[in-house]
Every structure is written in structure tokens, then in C-alpha cells.
């Protein structure tokens, strides 16, 4: 592709990494993060992931600030909620830091904060593993690297185009039912009533749409042969291997370092609130 290089620089280096390599690089660390209980390790991981994302994907400054603000807010909220959820008998020896209409102890805050940072780090890794991936790249990579049948890979991607239409259908449906004089109460009861009524017509419309789409795809030869031509076949290049190795090595280095500094805390029990 003559303009492949231009596209790559415009969309950042992360877009040039094989989508399957990105998943391979980020999924194992993401799973391991589940077992950490300290603040430092996930925080360092989140930091490195953030640096990789910012350098690898062209983000507008506004998007960056909005993202940072969202992470801080969600982080603060998660910290507070998980701190309050911590079993009080586990933290009764630790000093009280807030004592008003709620009582918060330092150990509870630490537990809440570590959960929040852990979630943030996992989110960062998930973003690192998916940013810059287009649906076409992903489909091609799934077919070539994961040996998934192309009918399945491309079929699922075509199905995703249903989402905007589904939203439109839902809006029309709500208006149509309101015109019949339905007034649902606010809150969960109204929500369930509304959803229950929408399901059958939406499923009927969805099934019709799916039939039409699959007919249109068959009419254009989808599934005619066991393979299909790929204009930009997904390949594994040296940079993909380097990317995976770098992420894994970096992650291991973080664990070793925090472990040696005595900061790392690990629990095999996912329910362990420590």
C-alpha cells in the first residue's frame, strides 16, 4: 500500500501493531494485576501504559484532559466506596482519619485506593490493547493469526453495524408507545416495565434486520469459499514481537522492583479485602 506509511504516522505507531499482538501483550499482565493488593505496583503499570498510549495514539489535548478528569473522579469515588465497604473488624487497629457521620480508618482508605488504582491500571492496559485497532484489522488478524474462520470474524463485525440502527429503533419505539398513553414511573420499576415492553418488537425488528443483512452478504459471495482475498493481510512482524516482549519485560520489571522495595502485596484470594 503506497500510502500505508502516511496512514500509520497519522494514526500513531500503536495502530501499526498487530491487533492480536496488542491483545497478547496486555491480557496476561491485566489478569496478573487482579492479584495485587498494593497501590504502587498498579500505579506504576498505569503510568507506563498511559505513556505508551499518549505516545502511540494522536489524542487531542481536550480528550486527554477530559479522560484524566474522568479517571480522577471515578478513582476518588471508587476509593471512597470500597473504603466504606471494607469489613470494619479487619481495620479496627488502624488510626481513624475521618470521624464524622462516617468513620474512615487509614487501612480502609488504603484498601479502597488500591482497588481504585488496580481498576485504573487494568483500564489503561485494556485501552493499550485496543487503541488504534480498526475492525478490519482485527478481523484480518483473527483470521490469519488466530485461525478463526473468516465467516465468524467478519460476520460478527458486520453485526456491530446494527448498533446505531437499534438505537434509532428504540427511540421510535419509546415515542410510539408513549403515544399510546403509557406513563412509566421513574426508577427501576418503570425501567423494567419499559424494557419488558420493548423486547419483543425490538427482537422482531432485529431478526428482520439480521436476515436482510445476511442475505445482502450472501448475495455478495460471503462464505462462497473457505477463504477470501485479503487486501492488507494481517502479518506478524518483528515490531509486533518486540512490542509483546517489551510490555511483558516492562511489567515483570515493575513487579520485581516493587517486590524488592517491599511495596508489592499479592493475594490469591480475589475476595480478600486487604
Amino acid at each position: 500500500m503506497s500510502d500505508g506509511h502516511n496512514t500509520a504516522t497519522r494514526r500513531g505507531w500503536l495502530a501499526t501493531i498487530n491487533p492480536v499482538a496488542k491483545l497478547a501483550a496486555t491480557l496476561p499482565p491485566l489478569a496478573l494485576l487482579l492479584f495485587t493488593r498494593d497501590i504502587a505496583t498498579p500505579a506504576v503499570v498505569a503510568g507506563f501504559a498511559l505513556v505508551a498510549i499518549v505516545s502511540g495514539v494522536p489524542l487531542r489535548l481536550r480528550t486527554l484532559f477530559a479522560g484524566a478528569a474522568a479517571i480522577l473522579l471515578v478513582g476518588a469515588w471508587t476509593t471512597l466506596v470500597f473504603a466504606l465497604l471494607t469489613r470494619s473488624d479487619l481495620v479496627k487497629d488502624s488510626p481513624i482519619i475521618i470521624d464524622g457521620w462516617i468513620t474512615l480508618r487509614a487501612a480502609a482508605m488504603h484498601s479502597g485506593a488500591s482497588t481504585a488504582v488496580r481498576l485504573a491500571a487494568m483500564m489503561m492496559l485494556a485501552l493499550l490493547g485496543s487503541f488504534g485497532t480498526t475492525t478490519n484489522q482485527l478481523a484480518s488478524a483473527l483470521v490469519h493469526q488466530c485461525r478463526i474462520p473468516y465467516r465468524f470474524a467478519y460476520g460478527s463485525i458486520a453485526a456491530m453495524r446494527f448498533a446505531p440502527r437499534y438505537r434509532q429503533d428504540l427511540l421510535t419505539l419509546r415515542a410510539a408507545q408513549r403515544a399510546r398513553g403509557i406513563i412509566d414511573s421513574a426508577g427501576p420499576v418503570g425501567y423494567f416495565l419499559r424494557t419488558g415492553r420493548s423486547i419483543i418488537p425490538l427482537l422482531a425488528a432485529g431478526a428482520r434486520y439480521a436476515t436482510r443483512l445476511s442475505l445482502a452478504m450472501d448475495a455478495r459471495g460471503f462464505g462462497a469459499f473457505s477463504s477470501r482475498s485479503d487486501r492488507q493481510p494481517s502479518v506478524v512482524r518483528a515490531r509486533d514481537v518486540i512490542f509483546v516482549m517489551t510490555v511483558w519485560a516492562g511489567f515483570a520489571a515493575v513487579f520485581v522492583t516493587t517486590g524488592m522495595l517491599g511495596l508489592l502485596s499479592i493475594s490469591g484470594d480475589l475476595h480478600d479485602p486487604r
Binding site: 478490519n136 440502527r165 410510539a176 403515544a179 399510546r180 398513553g181 445476511s214 450472501d218 448475495a219 487486501r231
Partner: protein, 583 residues
């Protein structure tokens, strides 16, 4: 139109074909025999629900390869028996364009979209983009690779239908099948679509077309095949022969006719069995000389809307829309619309897709909030009423009746609106029974609404909207996709309601329906009110109609052409202005 077809080697051949879906007991088609030859353009006609689309799916091989259905007889596509291939393998033999532009888009760019089929058929990688770009260029969608990288969502409905042709064309199939390709398109987009399709007609390619709107399609067709209600072929021949000689029969079966043929039929020109009725306006002009009635009395030159205007001017303002704007998802979709709707009038709202028609009517019914401006119903501001109180005054029938069904039986469906208003049981039963009888639904009182036929669903949805006895009825595209007989039935029902004093507000693409029945027309364009006025004034202003992106209604179009020779046609726009003469 001379047929250049080579009649020796059919590209499609049906022998003794009948089809039955797995979910149904009914066989569609009674041993259909049909051969289609290279170079032919075949127009397939039939009443609603006769199985045109099913026959089309069978002749394209999608039945039985892709859909669960029984196929009797045999179908050969390019010499291949469709029973012996798998889904997708006939794509190089038959290209298909479906009705719904949305449900055909598979990828994220025009280029990927056209390449999709080529990739599926294992075309050599270095040829794919060149062939795709050639097809896109041919349909006027992209001149360069850069343009071809646009997303399909940027295209209008008409553009997406041309994209669907480009996708089929890239595979260079000897047959192109189109199933009501312009049903979802605006008049101008539909004309552009046919202009693009005409360029594809050549001696090597066959085109099979299913279409309701015949005026555009007939310019292309050199053979017409007509199915009856069971999907059996009853006529097969040249358009002049089939439509020219059997127009009355077709019309009685509920099949739409070309406008010129319909006018000739109305004037009783089929009295002479030797004569073929005209199909186009240029054939109609000389045929008019044969009408027995005196020249001046063929058409009425007085505007039939005039007397109604004076009556309506005396009426109260029932709905007062003042500077109404609506924002949806951050986009202003209605800009400061001012509109006064009189009690008892029949008001039509017209405009292209996205002009804001549904937004305006939904705002009137309190279903979307205004961002500024106000709406009052008989002097009461809409904001002072809840949904049910608005529902007491306005019945709203959505385009898809299924969207409004809430109950398990037709009886409960009708009772719903009264029960939520806590009316006493005897009153509910009484009104429901009367409504069932009035809309001929009594037989289906205990049937699930989803199991009714399309026409019955439509009647039920109108009945549910009327059960609370509103004084205003809003209908969104009530005749969409219906054959002539059903459309007429629906329109008659609406006119009867209007005659009982109910104010009608109707959204429709069908400008002839507006011309024939509406008192006034509101034209919208890009969320703004372009004009509102008496039907005759609006529809006879061709420049205004074109500014709205529409075309004059077919009868008006014909009258304009005839008026060059016969000035009495100058003011004709309504079918009723043409004298009905029994043969």
C-alpha cells in the same frame, strides 16, 4: 424499446417453480416457468403479498442456498442449478440490490464495501481495488481513492442504493436483480437512481426489477411479467402489450399502473379492445383525441380545493405551533416552525428524508420536547398537559404498526387506552366492540396483533389511536409500501374519518395522495418550514416543489406536459379533475 435479447441461452431459467417457507403452509407460485435472456430488462409486478420478493430470491438463488425454504421445480442461474451450490457461490452470476439501504452496508468505507464481494470471490489482490474503483466511478460515487475512503453513512439513501449497485457491478454479473430499490428514496434520489441504472443496460446484461413506482421503471423495461395474488404468472410480454391491453384487469387486482395508463383508463380509453392504452405522456397526448366527450369537458379547470378553503377559513385554530424548535442529540432538527392547523382540515406534511416531518408531528403530539417556541392545542399550552391528556386530543399512528402494539389480543389492544384512563368496564367493553365492528376487526378480537396481516395491523393501529375519541389524528406514512388496492382502502378510511370532523395530519412521500385528498400542504426542508398553503397552490408551484427536493405529483407532471397542446390541462393536479368515463 427494441429487444436486443439473444433468445437462445437464458441467463436465468425457472421450470415448474413453487416455493414454501418453512414457517408457512402456503406454496408461493404455481409451477412458474420463466426464462430471462441477456440484454432484457424485466419488470416483475404483482399485488402486495403475492410473493414477488420470494420469486426474486429464488431466481437469484438465495432460496434455497441462504434461506430456509422448500423449492419445487428447478432454477438455473447462468446454467448452474441453484440446488447444487452453497450460499454465496452465485454472487458472480447474479447481483442483487435490496430495498433497505441500511441493511446492505457491511463495512466502514465505500472502497471496502465494493471490495467485500471481490474478496469473497477470491479475486486476485492486485486487481481488487482497481475493479472496485471502476465500479464506484461508474455509479458516480468516487473519482479517486481518497474519495472512496469516505464512510457509507455520509451518503444519502439514494447514494447508498447506488453503492449497492456498485457492489454488485464490481463482480460483473450477467444478471442484476433489484427488489424495490427506490421504495425508501425521495423522488429526486429515485430519479437519479434510475438514471444511473439506465447506463447499465446493454446487450450482455439482464436486469430484473421489482417496483411499485412504474413511471421511472418503465423507461428501462422491455418486458413485463405480472404475478397474481398467489404468485402465478398471469401476463408476460412487452410493456405495451401487458400494461396497454390488460390495464383494467391489473388495476382491479390492485396493481399500480403507470400514471398515463391510469389517466387513459379513467377516460374509458380501453373501450376499444383493439387499442393499446398509452404508457407514457407522449403516447397519451394523441390518444386523448379519441375521447368521445367534448374537448372542454375532459378535465375540470376549477380548483377543487377552493370551496374547502373558504369553509376552513371559518374554523377555529386547533393547533397553534409558534416558533417551534427541536434539538436532538445536540443537533437542531427543527428550526422555528410557525404553523396553524384548523379544526377539521386534512393537512399533509411533505419533504425529503430528514426534512423534519416526523419531528414536527411528534412535537405536536408532545412526544419530543421543544427547545424553544410553543405549541398550543385549542388554546391550552402543550406543556400544561401530560402524555395521556395529549392522547385524549391527538391519536398518533406510527409508520410501523408493530411499534405501538402492547397487548396480547386485538381486543386488549383496543381496551388499553381506555383502561389506563380508568374508564368503567362496561364503557370499555362497549367502545371496544363498536371499534372492532367499525374497522372490520371483530373476527380477530382474540388474535395476537402481531399475527394479523399488514392491512389488518394498520386498521388496528388506527382503531387504537381513535379509541379515546381524539379530535386530531396524525398518520406517519400510512400507505408506505402498499399496493394500489390497499393504499386506496387506507386513504378511504382516512377520508371517512375526516368527514366525521376529525382533523387529519398526514406525513407522506406520495404527492399524488396529497394532491387528491389534502386541503393544505406543509413543505419542510432541512428542518425549516418552506411553505404552507392550499394544496393546489403549493403543488402547482413546480419551482417550490423542486426547492423542497421533490417532484410534482405524477398527474400534475402529465398535465404540465399535455398543457402545451391542450391548455385546459394547465390547472390540473388532482385525479378527480379528470372526468371518469365508463367504457
Amino acid at each position: 424499446m427494441a429487444t436486443t435479447a439473444d433468445k437462445t441461452n437464458p441467463v436465468i431459467s425457472l421450470k415448474d417453480v413453487s416455493i414454501r417457507y418453512d414457517t408457512s403452509d402456503r406454496w408461493i407460485g404455481d409451477q412458474i416457468d420463466l426464462d430471462i435472456y441477456p440484454g432484457e430488462t424485466v419488470l416483475l409486478l404483482g399485488p402486495s403479498g403475492c410473493g414477488k420478493s420470494t420469486v426474486m430470491l429464488a431466481l437469484a438463488g438465495l432460496i434455497p442456498t441462504s434461506l430456509e425454504a422448500d423449492l419445487r421445480g428447478r432454477v438455473l442461474c447462468g446454467g448452474i442449478n441453484t440446488r447444487h451450490v452453497d450460499a454465496g457461490q452465485l454472487a458472480g452470476k447474479v447481483g442483487i440490490v435490496f430495498q433497505d439501504p441500511d441493511a446492505q452496508v457491511v463495512t466502514g468505507s465505500l472502497l471496502d464495501e465494493v471490495c467485500f464481494g471481490l474478496e469473497n470471490l477470491l479475486a486476485p489482490v492486485d486487481e481488487i481495488e482497481t475493479r472496485a474503483l471502476t465500479a464506484l466511478r461508474r455509479m458516480g460515487l468516487a473519482d479517486s481513492r481518497e474519495e472512496a475512503l469516505r464512510t457509507p453513512t455520509e451518503l444519502s439513501g439514494g447514494g447508498r442504493q447506488r453503492l449497492a449497485i456498485a457492489c454488485a457491478l464490481a463482480l460483473d454479473p450477467p444478471v442484476l436483480v433489484l427488489d424495490e430499490p427506490t421504495a425508501n428514496l425521495d423522488p429526486v434520489a429515485s430519479a437519479e437512481f434510475y438514471a444511473a441504472l439506465t447506463t447499465l443496460k446493454d446487450a450482455s446484461r439482464a436486469i430484473v426489477l421489482v417496483e411499485h413506482e412504474l413511471d421511472d421503471a418503465l423507461q428501462l423495461a422491455d418486458r413485463v411479467v405480472v404475478l397474481d395474488g398467489n404468485g402465478t404468472i398471469i401476463h408476460d410480454g412487452a410493456p405495451a402489450e401487458v400494461l396497454g391491453r390488460h390495464a383494467r384487469d391489473l388495476s382491479e387486482r390492485g396493481i399500480w399502473l403507470p400514471t398515463a395508463t391510469g389517466v387513459a383508463l379513467r377516460l374509458g380509453l380501453d373501450a376499444d379492445p383493439e387499442r393499446e392504452l398509452p404508457l407514457t405522456v407522449s403516447e397519451l397526448a394523441p390518444a386523448l383525441d379519441a375521447v368521445e366527450a367534448p374537448e372542454g369537458t375532459i378535465v375540470s379547470t376549477t380548483d377543487p380545493g377552493r370551496s374547502r378553503d373558504q369553509v376552513l377559513a371559518q374554523q377555529d385554530v386547533l393547533i397553534d405551533v409558534h416558533a417551534a424548535s427541536v434539538r436532538l442529540g445536540g443537533v437542531t432538527v427543527l428550526h422555528g416552525v410557525d404553523l396553524r392547523i384548523m379544526s377539521g382540515e386534512f393537512l399533509a406534511i411533505a419533504g425529503i428524508n430528514g426534512a423534519g416531518k416526523s419531528t414536527l408531528t411528534r412535537a405536536i403530539a408532545g412526544l419530543v420536547p421543544l427547545s424553544s417556541g410553543s405549541i398550543a392545542l385549542a388554546g391550552t399550552p402543550l406543556t400544561a398537559l401530560d402524555v395521556r391528556q395529549v392522547g385524549d386530543r391527538i391519536g398518533y399512528v406510527f409508520q410501523n404498526p408493530e411499534h405501538q402494539f402492547l397487548a396480547r389480543t386485538a381486543r386488549d389492544e383496543l381496551a388499553y387506552g381506555l383502561r389506563v384512563r380508568r374508564r368503567p368496564k362496561h364503557e370499555v367493553d362497549d367502545r371496544v366492540d363498536r371499534m372492532l365492528a367499525r374497522f372490520e376487526l371483530a373476527r380477530y378480537a382474540d388474535v395476537n396483533p402481531f399475527l394479523l396481516s399488514h392491512g389488518e395491523k394498520r386498521r388496528l393501529s388506527v382503531a387504537t389511536a381513535l379509541i379515546t375519541e381524539p379530535k386530531i389524528l396524525i398518520l406517519d406514512e400510512p400507505t408506505f409500501g402498499q399496493d394500489q388496492a390497499r393504499a386506496r382502502e387506507i386513504v378511504n378510511m382516512i377520508c371517512e374519518l375526516n368527514a366525521t370532523g376529525i382533523t387529519i395530519i398526514i406525513i407522506t412521500h406520495d404527492l399524488q395522495l396529497i394532491a387528491d385528498y389534502a386541503d393544505r400542504v406543509t413543505l419542510l426542508s432541512q428542518g425549516r418550514l418552506l411553505d404552507v398553503g392550499a394544496t393546489g397552490e403549493i403543488l402547482c408551484d413546480t419551482r417550490l416543489i423542486e426547492r423542497a427536493g421533490l417532484r410534482p405529483p405524477p398527474v400534475r407532471h402529465i398535465a404540465l406536459a399535455l398543457a402545451r397542446e391542450k391548455p385546459e390541462w394547465r390547472t390540473v393536479y388532482r385525479t378527480g379533475q379528470i372526468r371518469e368515463i365508463a367504457p
